[in-house]
């Protein structure tokens, strides 16, 4: 299997679909001549020309709205948010139009589009440039929301996203664009709503998505030395959500720790914890633990930023607590 970066996996998926389907176009800031701020779209303007790789002015609301119109009219636009932090300027378009127009037109129109870009923090971009928006976008019916962590899933889920007849919020692991992994050639679709068991274990279920999955794998390794066998689940898809895989795992381990970079209140982890207690209350040997970002706007200084995000130490501590190991 070929090895490629997360960035290349995304680019390959988009290029393959553009090759296959002429209705697929890209829009965004500096995605063409500049090459893309994170080089995800690098070279695509040379291959597909400026009519299909459209450099836009800095007007997220405007070009996202235009792309929604394109989708309603039968195209399949992919919009790049240079980073998801700027999508707040387009929130009105995304929520009031993309997510709802099918409903309030009585099913007469649909919006097959992808909005994609880097999400999450970890590189000292401070308050306005650091957000994890899974919970936020996951809140709205009408949107699909996914967050792949491996290059394999980046490609497979991007292919699914482009073909999906709904607006898809595609949250990329911004800190991982350069990470490499095996990616199958050609067409393979990773369906939405299916979590991935990233590591099997028997004592505790660790649940995350995006770059926290990698942390969980490292923590699981550490815990193995203490005789704790941890199962790691990568949610991949936030809406739709795979309840089955999680409940099956908890029935086996009887304990769960959910980890996320986003704030805890009204978050994905809160939802996961609620789902587990609703569906597997009698199976639980300990309350479900959540490890989340600190309830502050993201700080700038390196030490403060590190303190604001879940650490491996915090995660391991949470695991020992649900295991009732001396903490």
């Amino acid at each position: 299997m070929p090895v490629m970066t997360y960035r290349e996996a995304l680019r390959t998926a988009m290029a393959d679909e553009m090759e296959r389907d002429e209705s697929v176009v890209l829009l965004g800031e500096d995605i063409g001549i500049y090459g893309g701020t994170h080089l995800v779209t690098d070279g695509l303007i040379d291959r597909f020309g400026p009519k299909r790789v459209i450099d836009t002015p800095i007007a997220e609301g405007g070009f996202t709205g235009a792309a929604i119109g394109m989708a309603m009219g039968g195209m399949r636009p992919i919009v790049e948010m240079m980073t998801w932090n700027f999508s707040f300027q387009a929130v009105d378009q995304i929520i009031q139009n993309a997510a709802k127009v099918r409903y309030f037109s009585g099913g007469q129109v649909s919006v097959p589009m992808v909005i994609r870009g880097p999400n999450g923090g970890g590189v000292q971009l401070s308050a306005q440039h650091t957000h994890s928006l899974e919970g936020f976008y996951g809140h709205f019916p009408g949107l699909k929301v996914v967050s792949p962590v491996t290059p394999h899933d980046a490609k497979g889920m991007m292919l699914s996203a482009i073909r999906d007849p709904n607006p898809v919020i595609f949250l990329e692991a911004g800190a991982l664009y350069g990470t490499k992994g095996e990616v199958p050639e050609g067409e393979f679709l990773v369906p939405f709503g299916e979590a991935r068991v990233a590591r099997e274990g028997t004592d505790v279920t660790l649940i995350a998505y995006g770059r926290q999955v990698n942390m969980l794998l490292r923590v699981a390794q550490t815990l193995e030395g203490e005789g704790i066998s941890a199962e790691v689940i990568d949610l991949r898809s936030i809406r739709p959500f795979d309840e089955k895989t999680i409940i099956e795992s908890v029935r086996k381990t009887h304990r769960a720790v959910v980890v996320q970079e986003q704030w805890r209140w009204f978050s994905v982890a809160s939802e996961v914890a609620a789902i587990i207690q609703e569906q597997a209350f009698d199976e639980l040997d300990a309350p479900v633990a959540r490890v989340s970002g600190a309830e502050v706007p993201a700080p700038y200084a390196r030490n403060l930023e590190q303190a604001a995000f879940p650490s491996e130490i915090q995660i391991a501590t949470a695991v020992r607590r649900v295991m009732y190991r001396g903490v």
């Binding site: 007007a59 590189v123 000292q124 401070s126 306005q128 989340s292 604001a308």
Partner: protein, 365 residues
């Protein structure tokens, strides 16, 4: 600690006289401000330049994180307009904000420490390069979302008028930002409120030719940017932003006009970003080396130096002394930033609420 502000801080009485109509007409023999003042501006601009270069170096060494946007090439602009700052005015800009902070009186130490993410920084290491605030000296930020601060500036101006402070707002934004909906919505309000004298806001459009890699021509079919203000009933003029003398003359008139009328007014300052968009930006595919070299010929600091030399206002030895002095200020700032402690970890939870002591929240549930 020392700031870089004018040493002879002007009082109403000794405002230096402005002669000529700026631009072409002003020959070396008729400099519009006295030469001591001009030399002082030269020192400030040079200090800003060296400050930015030092920040760039520190960034490449990994001492500064996040984004770092430099003002190299645009120094004459903020220097000229902020010369008109009076106590009570409010200055607001985007993320290319170091010069504005320094000119308004933040110490180079505090600004550099902020870039280094230190507790001694201008905003205690909590904002970084893009979010410089120094409210007591008139700087109201420092914003990272292109166009997002423009409505704030218009609201600040309304408040100035409502409270009858006599202050005005200087609202800086880029050629890229003018295409953002936030600009258009805010400009419309400014025009409207200004009819009643309720919006003393000077829009300063810093047209440095690019928004990141997208030139003005590639961002709009109507490239006469200042004419966009016509849509909102805001009068405007252009200025050569590379020539401090011209900027000073224009700033004098424009600020006075806004102060007197309570109406918005707009300046399109034609300038050029000599530095890359951000300090991490090595690939400059969107412009040629020749174009940058051409622009460097009108480097605002060199232009001013030439003027001063030609007017016989300064000699090489004095210039060397000013350079040495500016270098020392910047070196001191870097040393200070380097030696300063990180913010105490307790700072993580402060400043979230204005009424303080909400119980903090453990990130572990």
């Amino acid at each position: 600690m020392a700031t870089i502000r004018s040493r002879s801080k002007k009082s109403e009485a000794d405002v230096p006289p402005v002669a000529g109509s700026g631009g072409n007409g002003v020959g070396p023999e008729e400099l519009p401000v006295d030469t001591d003042t001009l030399l002082d501006y030269y020192r400030q601009m040079l200090t800003i330049r060296l400050f930015e270069e030092a920040a760039q170096t520190a960034f490449r060494k990994g001492k500064i994180g996040g984004y770092l946007h430099l003002y190299i090439g645009q120094e004459a602009l903020a220097t000229g307009f902020l010369h008109e700052y009076q106590t009570g005015d409010r200055i607001i800009t985007a993320y290319r904000d170091h010069a504005h902070a320094l000119l308004l009186g933040a110490t180079p130490r505090a600004v550099m420490a902020e870039l280094f993410g230190k507790g001694t920084g201008l905003v205690k290491g909590k904002g970084g390069s893009m979010h410089l605030f120094d409210v007591q000296n008139g700087l109201w930020g420092g914003y990272g979302i292109v166009g997002g601060h423009i409505p704030l500036g218009v609201g600040l101006a309304y408040a100035e008028a409502y409270q009858k402070t006599g202050g005005i707002v200087q609202l800086y934004f880029g050629d890229g930002a003018i295409h953002n909906g936030a600009f258009h919505e805010a400009a419309n309000l400014a025009g409207l409120w200004g009819r009643d004298g309720m919006c003393p806001c000077l829009f300063i459009l810093e047209n440095n030719k690019y928004g990141m890699g997208t030139s003005v021509e590639r961002a709009t079919a109507m490239t006469d940017l200042s004419a966009k203000f016509d849509s909102y009933g805001i009068e405007h003029e252009d200025v050569d932003g590379m020539d401090l003398v011209t900027v000073l003359e224009t700033a004098r008139r424009a600020v006075a006009r806004v102060r007197e009328t309570g109406k918005p007014y707009a300046i399109e300052a034609i300038t050029y970003r000599i530095s890359p968009h951000g300090a991490a930006d090595f690939l400059e595919r969107y412009r040629s080396k020749e174009e940058v070299a051409e622009a460097r010929k009108r480097d605002p600091i060199n232009l001013l130096e030439q003027r001063l030399l030609e007017a016989g206002a300064v000699d090489e030895q004095q210039l060397a002394e000013i350079r040495r002095e500016a270098r020392a200020v910047v070196d001191d700032a870097v040393k200070f930033a380097e030696e300063s402690p990180e913010p105490p970890i307790d700072e993580l939870y402060t400043d979230v609420y204005a009424d303080s002591a909400y119980a903090t929240d453990s990130p572990v549930g």
